[in-house]
């Protein structure tokens, strides 16, 4: 495999695949290489079979390959499970003695991970660093940077632990240098760049912090929970209250209460939790209270596959909530988009006084990539409230004052001399309950038509690549961005793609314009119905030639989409 290789570290939950993954990611990043990493884990804390996969390349990478060039099998089960997933010349790194594997195989590279860990480190917990030493050796990385990464990773645990880890890693490294003769996995180190390495969920969390979210509340739900963990990690530093709610109903209602009181608020969940939030979503629409909700999808219905990926909640999010009101749905496709669109979500939610949804999925949530540091000036925090200073002059305040834009100036309770009434019943401009038919019409127009008209002018444009030149154009939203991009880039000019970072309001005009001369249009979606294709038919009346659908809970990879595409050639 030229210019890149894929490593898969597999074992039982609790064996430390993530630790190895984190150390190796840092190591290759230090070597100036590019990384796309993702995790495949079962819904259990111990046992089962999980893996951490790293694609390392001389060029930036955005997605996965189907086959691994190196599998590090930490238990016997992993050897059988992942044998078929090895590439043609792939190597299975294993500790035959420890795993009890008697037969030999030309793909095996037998390493005494357990023995080094116990004899040098004094405990089998050092197996992970032994494996890191082996990997550095196999991929022709000098030992010094590995030493540095280990020092950084274990610094908090004290110098004794650091030194033991380094010794164990060195044993693995030296053994490999002496015994692994292939040069297959040697990449050309690039210039050391000041990049960040983070996941989609971490990017959403940083976006929220930057956007001035001061109240974050959620009920833990995989795969959304690491957003809450990340915000909580920085909560003290940034003066944010993170409150674990008793259920998702409480979470959204608390977010709305905090927002009504004047702070930027957010919640996150997955499909099942969002189902509980739906009445609250409608409340946000009716009371015109800004809120940002991240829905990190996993396969459903019901509990589904808690730790796996799917994009089947598109229809649900488009239609969630009783009644008709304006909303925005962003569908970030990269770590960068996850950050910037979260920032934009807070601005738009506040400007239009509506709920804004960030629809992600487990694949984006748990995938890591090296990226340029965020441009913190790209999207500024814009406030759309009556400031404390301006509040002094406010008289005769009406919370739902009718305006051209449908947006009523938003005052903050206690800042103005007057009072503010917000109501879930249909209400007058003052916010009092009414059953007047003409007021009803005006309020529906305000919340729906007028706000939607404004929102249509702020749509996040679709990303297009080689649409006019291509014989086939692939369409996707959310986490499929990476696979579409790389597939198109490697196709020469045969393929083009359109990625939608926003699906509501749908960019109908732009899409019709982009696709007007497209020869063949195929959607690529992690769901069974082809929900994006159906949305396009509704909103653009565009003929879709087919959909490549995947709903086994696993993310797309380059080879998978490529193979499916053959059906359409």
């Amino acid at each position: 495999m030229p210019n890149e290789f894929t490593i898969k570290i597999a074992g039982e939950a609790g064996q430390g695949m993530q630790t190895i993954g984190a150390v190796l990611s840092r190591l290759y990043k230090k070597a100036g290489l590019h990384i796309f990493a993702n995790q495949d884990y079962m819904s259990r804390v111990r046992g089962g079979n999980n893996f951490f996969q790293l694609r390392v390349s001389e060029k930036p990478v955005f997605t996965l390959r189907q086959k691994a060039d190196i599998v590090v099998a930490l238990d016997k089960k992993s050897v059988t499970l992942h044998k078929a997933g090895l590439s043609d010349k792939g190597i299975m790194v294993l500790d035959r003695k420890q795993s009890g594997i008697l037969q030999a195989d030309s793909s095996f590279f037998d390493v005494a991970l357990h023995e080094w860990a116990v004899s040098i480190g004094g405990s089998d917990i050092f197996i992970n660093t032994a494996a890191c030493g082996v990997m550095a050796g196999m991929t022709a990385i000098a030992f010094e940077p590995l030493g540095e990464v280990i020092r950084e990773a274990f610094a908090e645990k004290g110098s004794d632990i650091v030194e033991k880890n380094i010794k164990v890693a060195k044993a693995g490294y030296e053994f490999t240098q002496g015994n692994f003769k292939k040069k297959t996995f040697s990449l050309k180190a690039g210039p050391l760049k000041d990049t960040l390495f983070l996941s989609g969920n971490e990017a959403i969390a940083l976006g929220a912090i930057k956007a001035g979210c001061k109240f974050y509340t959620a009920y833990p739900m995989t795969p959304s929970t690491s957003i809450m963990n990340t915000v909580a990690h920085y909560a003290t530093q940034y003066n944010i209250v993170v409150e674990q709610a008793e259920d998702e109903i409480a979470a959204i209602n608390m977010a709305l209460g905090a927002s009504f009181a004047g702070v930027r608020a957010m919640t996150a969940t997955s499909g099942g939790g969002f189902a509980l939030m739906v009445e609250g979503l409608s409340l946000a629409g009716m009371t015109e209270t800004p809120v940002v909700i991240a829905e990190v999808q996993r396969p459903a219905p019901a509990t589904g596959f808690p730790t796996r990926t799917e994009q089947a909640d598109l229809d649900f999010l488009l239609h969630a909530g009783h009644g008709e009101f304006a909303r925005v749905i962003y569908t970030p496709g990269t770590i960068e988009e996850a950050f910037y669109l979260t920032l934009k979500a807070f601005n738009i939610a506040e400007k239009y006084q509506i709920p804004v949804l960030i629809m992600s999925d487990q694949h984006l949530a748990d995938s890591y990539r090296d990226i340029e540091p965020f441009d913190v000036n790209k999207i500024k925090v814009e406030r759309f409230i009556i400031t404390k200073e301006e509040s002094q002059k406010v008289e005769g305040y009406r919370r739902y004052k009718l305006t051209e834009s449908g947006i009523s100036p938003r005052a903050i309770p206690s800042w103005i001399e007057g009072v503010i009434y917000a109501d879930s019943d249909e209400h007058t401009e003052e916010g009092h309950i009414t059953e007047d038919a003409s007021v009803r019409i005006q309020m529906v127009e305000k919340r729906l038509y007028k706000k939607m008209a404004g929102l249509c002018g702020e749509i996040e444009k679709p990303t297009e690549y080689n649409v006019t030149g291509a014989s086939c154009v692939l369409l996707g939203f959310g986490s499929t961005y990476g696979v579409l991009r790389e597939l198109c880039e490697q196709s020469g000019n045969a393929l083009g793609f359109v990625h939608f970072p926003q699906v509501w309001p749908f960019p109908s005009k732009e899409t019709n314009q982009i696709l007007k001369d497209a020869k063949k249009i195929i959607t690529v979606e992690n769901n069974a119905l082809g929900q994006l294709a159906r949305l396009l038919k509704r909103e653009c009346a565009i003929r879709i030639h087919g959909s490549i659908l995947r709903f086994d809970g696993r993310p797309f990879d380059l080879e998978y989409v490529d193979a499916q595409l053959k059906k359409y050639s």
Partner: protein
């Protein structure tokens, strides 16, 4: 400030003679006595007859969803601790639909006052049993009489360690307004369950019925609301004699104290225009 400063122009939709009027009067009196300004008070409600109350008083109002009054109230207080946050809710809204929030917000202990208009019946949906309807009471749904055990809010609140547990009676506005003053002054979650006759749908628990049974625990100088066991016994009393007053008190740190937000400027005052997240980048390098 006086009572007229809290007068709302919204037309009242309660039945004539409804116990809710007494609660409205008591609340206004309490706010005047405490010297509160309408702009500094936030009333939060869900759905039901009790939930209409915020419209009938000049103050800020967030009238949300059925059963969901407490979560936005707690969060609004967290967002702006300078607000006086009061929930006006009913036995259906608070103990039925919103039971989970009732329990967990006692644990959360944000400094809010929860006034439950407990008429032991569903008014807005026209007469079905509520969680506190007396067993045996016949309704259009519970045709053979209520067979479920009633929920005992005061016992529950004491068991959960609520720092302020009181019961008032809507017809005794002097007493009730004093309870509301104490509840608002209490730093933490304060529960005031208010016996409130429903003149249309509850033909059992009438003004006359309550009038014969109620007595004030705090009239007895020996009664110590800090004694949890005694308070629990008092809370269990129902039937021939029904205790009113501050049943249980416990001094404990509020959410604001424990989370540290009481020592910081109100969250809503935080400047957010130029938050520098660059210092976090080192964790991702």
């Amino acid at each position: 400030m006086n009572i007229s400063d809290f007068k709302s122009n919204d037309e009242i939709a309660w039945c004539p003679g409804c116990g809710d009027f007494g609660i409205l009067t008591s609340l206004k009196k309490a706010l005047v006595a405490l010297g509160k300004k309408p702009k500094d008070v936030l009333l939060v409600s869900g759905i039901g007859q009790a939930a209409k109350l915020p419209h009938y008083i000049q103050s800020n109002c967030f009238n949300g969803l059925h059963g969901r009054a407490i979560p936005p109230a707690a969060a609004a207080k967290i967002a702006n601790r300078n607000l006086t946050v009061i929930v006006t809710t009913g036995d259906g809204d608070c103990y039925g639909e919103g039971g989970n929030h009732f329990m967990h917000n006692i644990r959360r202990n944000v400094d809010i006052t929860v006034i439950v208009h407990n008429n032991q019946i569903y008014g807005l949906t026209k007469g079905q049993a509520s969680p506190t309807t007396d067993p045996g009471y016949e309704t259009k749904v519970q045709t053979g009489g209520v067979i479920l055990e009633p929920l005992h809010p005061l016992e529950m609140a004491i068991a959960l360690g609520c720092g302020f547990v009181a019961r008032g009676y809507s017809a005794d506005t002097e007493h009730l307004s004093r309870l509301i003053i104490e509840g608002i002054t209490h730093k933490g979650f304060a529960l005031i369950d208010v016996l409130q006759p429903c003149v249309t749908f509850n033909k059992k628990n009438t003004y006359e019925w309550y009038g014969k049974r109620i007595y004030k625990v705090n009239d007895d100088p020996a009664y110590d609301p800090h004694d949890k066991t005694a308070a629990y016994q008092k809370a269990c009393e129902w039937g021939e004699r029904i205790p009113l007053g501050i049943i249980y008190r416990a001094d404990k740190p509020s959410y604001e104290d424990k989370s540290g937000i009481s020592r910081m400027p109100a969250l809503v005052e935080t400047e957010i225009n130029n938050i520098d997240i660059a210092p976090t980048f080192k964790d991702f390098r």
